[in-house]
Amino acid sequence: MTRETWINAALALGLLAVPLWAWVADEPFTITLATKVAILALAGVGLNIALGLGGLVSLGHAAFFGLGGYAMGILAAHAQNYTPLMEWPLVVEGTKSMPVIWLVAVIVSALTALLIGALSLRTSGVYFIMITLAFGQMLYYFAISWPAYGGEDGLSIYVRNGFPGLNTLDPIQFFAICYVLLILALAFSARLARSPFGLALNAARQSPQRVETVGISPYRLRLLAFVISGAITGLAGALFADLNRFVSPSMFSWQTSGEIMVFIILGGTARLFGPVAGAALFIFLEQALGGLSEYWHVHLGLLLLAVVLFARGGIIGTLAGQGARND
C-alpha cells in the first residue's frame, strides 16, 4: 500500500468515526456537520472527474448542484401540496421518495451537462472557464426570476424525504445514506480512472493530438466525462437540499462553483480522496474560524492563496508526496 492509500483509508474511517462518536455522545449537530462534509465531498468527487481526470476547469458546476437541489425541491413541493407536476400529456405526480428524486436529479443534471458541455467544449482553456461560469450564472438568474418555485426566496420542504426501510429524520441514518453514496461514488471514480475510458481521458488531457492520432475523439471523451461529472454533482445537490430541507437560487451561485472547486484544491487536485479531505477541512474551518470572527472568509482566502502558491498538492499532496500524481 502506498502512503496515499493509507491516508485515504484514514479519511474514510475518520468521516465514519466522527458521527458515530457524536451519535453515542448525543451530539446531533456534529452528525449534521459530518453529513454536510459527505455531501459536499460527493459534489467534489463529481467535479474531480471533469477537473482532475479530464483537465476541464469548470467554474459552473453549481448549475448541476442547483438542478439536483431543485429536482428535489420541485418534486417534494408538489407531493406535499398534493398537486400534480403536470397533467398533460400524462399526469406526473410529485414524490417524497429519495431514490426517485435522485434518479430525476441525476438525469436532469446529466442532460443539462450534455447541453452545456456540447457548447462549452467547442472551446478550451480560459474560454471554457468563462463559458461554464456564464452558463452557471444563466441558471442562477433564471431561478431568481422564475416565480413558480419561490423565485428569490427558494422553496422549503416541511419533512425530509423518505428512503424505504430507513428513518431519514434520524440524523445518523441520513448520514449513513450520504456516506454510502459518497463511498460508492469514490469506488466508481477509482474504477473509472483505471478503465479504458479513464486512461484515454487522462491521455487526452496530457496530449490531445496523440489521442486524436490513434483515432479517438478527445471531444467525445471530454463530453462524456463532463456529463458523468455533472450527474454526480447533481446527486449531491439533491442530498444537500434534503439536508437543509430548503432550496434557493444560492445553490446556483458562482460562489458555490468556486467552493466546490476549493474543496478539490485544498484536498489535492486529481487525488481520489482530495474532495473528502478538502470538504472536511472547509467545514472544520467554517466552524472553528466562523465562531472566532465574522470575517472568516479572509482567513480562508489567505489559506487558499498559500495552498495555491506554495503547497500545490493540497493536503493529500503534502502528506503523500508528489509520487502518485501522474502528470
Binding site: T123, Y127, I129, A134, M138, F142, I265, V298, L309
Partner: protein, 320 residues
C-alpha cells in the same frame, strides 16, 4: 405625456418610439460601463495570459474609494480621481504580491488564487466599511434630464457615462496603436521572450498593464456606484458579464471588448422590455410577462451560446 392635437394611435406610436430610444440609450450606457471593466480583463489576458477573477473586486474598490472621498470632500471629480488612484494602486499591489507568481502557472491555479483574492477583498471591505451599502450621489451639475433632438428627455448623468466611456475607448485605441507603451503591449501579446530580449523591463510592463486595467475597472465602479448603491459583492455580477463580453468579442482584443460590450448591453436592456411584449402576442399578459422576464435574464447567455456555435473563438478572435 399627452401631446395635444394628435390622434391617440399616433401618440401611442410616438410614445413607443421614445421608449425604445430611451432603452437603446440605456443599453449603450450599460454596454459602455461593461467595456470599461472588460477592457482591463481582456488586456491582462491578452498580454499576460492570465484569467483574473478578482477584476470585479477592483471595480468594487473603485466604487468604495469614490464613495468614501465623495462623503469626505463632497466633490464628485475628486471621487472619480480617487477611484482611479485606489483601483490602480490596489491593482499594482496585488500584481506585485500575488499575480506575478501566477503567470507561469496553469489556468486552474490562476482561477483559485484570484478566487482567494475575491474572498480577501470582499471580507476586507466588509470589515472596513461594514455590511451596509454606501451611497454616492450624482452631483447637481450632472443631475436632471436633458432634452435630446426629437424632444426625448434623458438623464444627463447617463449621457455623461456614455460620453466618458466612448472617450476612454478612443483613448485606449490611440494608446495601443500610437504610443510606445502600446507598441510594447502589442509586442508583449505576440512574443514575450522577444521583447524581454530587446531590453524592455517586462515585469514593469506587466505591472503597468495590470494597474491600467484596474484603474478602468475602478472608474467604472465609481460611475455605476452613483446609479446603484455601493456594496460588497457589486463587482462579481459585472465580472461575469465582462467574461460573456470577452467570449463574444474574442479574448485579448480591445475592439472585440467594445463591440461585445455594446451588443451585450443592448441585448440585455432591450430583451427586458421587448421579450414580454413578444410573448403577449400569443399568451395572456401575466404569463407573458413572467416568461418574458425569465427569458430576458437569459438572453445574453443565449447570445453567447449562439456566437460560440458560429465562431468558437469569438466574433473577432483568431486564436483559441
Amino acid at each position: 405625456m399627452a401631446l395635444p392635437g394628435k390622434p391617440l394611435g399616433e401618440q401611442n406610436k410616438l410614445m413607443t418610439t421614445i421608449l425604445l430610444i430611451e432603452q437603446v440609450l440605456n443599453g449603450l450606457q450599460f454596454g459602455v460601463m461593461l467595456f470599461l471593466t472588460a477592457a482591463g480583463l481582456t488586456l491582462v489576458f491578452g498580454v499576460m495570459g492570465l484569467i483574473n477573477l478578482a477584476h470585479g473586486s477592483l471595480f468594487m474598490v473603485g466604487a468604495f474609494a469614490a464613495a468614501a472621498v465623495a462623503g469626505a470632500t463632497g466633490s464628485f471629480i475628486l471621487a472619480l480621481a480617487a477611484s482611479l488612484a485606489a483601483a490602480a494602486a490596489a491593482g499594482a499591489l496585488v500584481e506585485m504580491l500575488v499575480i506575478r507568481r501566477l503567470y507561469s502557472r496553469d489556468h486552474l491555479d490562476q482561477v483559485l488564487a484570484t478566487f482567494a483574492l475575491i474572498l480577501i477583498f470582499s471580507e476586507g471591505t466588509r470589515w472596513l466599511f461594514g455590511s451596509f451599502p454606501l451611497y454616492l450621489n450624482i452631483p447637481t451639475w450632472l443631475s436632471g434630464p436633458v432634452t435630446l433632438p426629437g424632444g426625448i428627455q434623458y438623464p444627463l448623468y447617463r449621457l455623461t457615462i456614455i460620453a466618458i466611456g466612448l472617450v476612454i475607448a478612443g483613448g485606449l485605441f490611440l494608446l495601443i496603436s500610437r504610443t510606445r507603451l502600446g507598441i510594447r503591449i502589442r509586442a508583449g501579446e505576440s512574443d514575450r521572450e522577444m521583447i524581454a530580449a530587446l531590453g524592455v523591463d517586462i515585469s514593469k510592463l506587466y505591472t503597468i498593464v495590470f494597474a491600467l486595467g484596474a484603474a478602468l475597472a475602478g472608474l467604472a465602479g465609481a460611475l455605476v456606484g452613483a446609479i446603484q448603491s455601493v456594496q460588497v459583492g457589486m463587482g462579481e455580477p459585472v465580472l461575469i458579464l465582462a467574461f460573456v463580453v470577452i467570449v463574444i468579442g474574442g479574448i485579448g482584443l480591445v475592439k472585440g471588448a467594445l463591440i461585445g460590450s455594446i451588443l451585450v448591453g443592448l441585448t440585455d436592456t432591450l430583451g427586458r422590455i421587448l421579450l414580454p411584449e413578444v410573448f403577449k402576442l400569443f399568451l395572456d399578459p401575466s404569463t407573458a410577462t413572467s416568461i418574458g422576464a425569465s427569458l430576458a435574464t437569459m438572453s445574453i447567455y443565449i447570445l453567447m451560446a449562439a456566437v460560440l456555435v458560429v465562431k468558437p473563438t469569438g466574433l473577432f478572435g483568431a486564436k483559441a
